[in-house]
């Protein structure tokens, strides 16, 4: 792993389009500013790892374990209807 020392307001560049700036340092907490192209998602690592764990767990669900979901559903779009009445707001 490449390790660089930086001070407040200094930056590093990753490739030619991603800039990571040290915005603030307080005690053991560092605030980072990240400038990246719109198509590059940026996540806290622990969030991404938690999603990985949830997916792996979910992928082991057996149909009979999900049966009761029918009792919990309200009225609304069904998952296989092609177009559900939802919109993702970006």
């Amino acid at each position: 792993m490449l390790v660089l020392s930086r001070q407040r307001d200094e930056s590093i560049m990753i490739g030619d389009s991603i800039v990571v700036t040290i915005v603030d340092i307080r005690g053991d907490k560092v605030r980072l500013g990240i400038n990246a192209p719109a198509e590059v998602p940026v996540h806290r690592q622990e969030v991404y790892e938690a999603i990985q764990r949830e997916n792996v767990r979910a992928s082991r669900l057996a149909p009979e374990q999900a049966e009761e979901i029918g009792k919990l559903a309200g009225r609304g779009p069904v998952p296989n209807s092609g177009k559900a009445g939802e919109s993702a707001r970006g």
């Binding site: 198509e39 949830e54 999900a66 069904v78 998952p79 919109s87």
Partner: protein
């Protein structure tokens, strides 16, 4: 095409019904082609079945049906790989998991499907949303006997 599944046996899938997840899903990065199947006994439930792994399937539901006030904001960076012309072409699904006796929904990381292009992506929504939203009312079987 015909695919093998551990849960549903051998099933026939129209090629047009396949969904392509270019990045796979977190934790399941190897699985890029999925089929969205309807659950035989339950119209609220769908299954995303990996075509390359017979044992991998995710139970999915439409979140509004369970969480009517679910408001989701998705950063543009998460949606741009799907190249959607119109967000109204998007179908939103959330993954169902089970933790002990409770079914949970991952509201933090919904799956967005570009219905037109048959592409999909699990995104990380903005804000404070639970990855294990608990569905309550599991004890309805007790009520039935009372």
């Amino acid at each position: 095409m015909r695919i093998n599944t551990t849960r549903f046996g051998r099933i026939d899938i129209e090629t047009d019904d396949l969904l392509h997840f270019a990045s796979g899903l977190p934790g399941l990065e190897d699985c890029q082609r999925w089929a969205l199947l309807a659950d035989a006994g339950n119209d609220a439930l769908g299954w995303l079945q990996a075509t390359s792994r017979s044992d991998i399937a995710l139970a999915v539901v439409s979140p509004r049906r369970f969480v009517p006030d679910y408001q989701v904001r998705i950063p543009r960076s998460e949606l741009s790989p799907l190249a959607m012309r119109d967000l109204r072409d998007a179908q939103l699904l959330v993954v169902v998991a089970r933790h002990a006796e409770t079914l949970t929904l991952n509201l933090k990381a919904p799956i967005v499907i570009n219905v037109e292009a048959r592409t999909g992506r699990q995104v990380v929504a903005s804000g404070d949303l639970p990855m294990r939203y608990e569905l309550i009312g599991q004890r309805s079987s007790l009520k039935k006997s009372a």
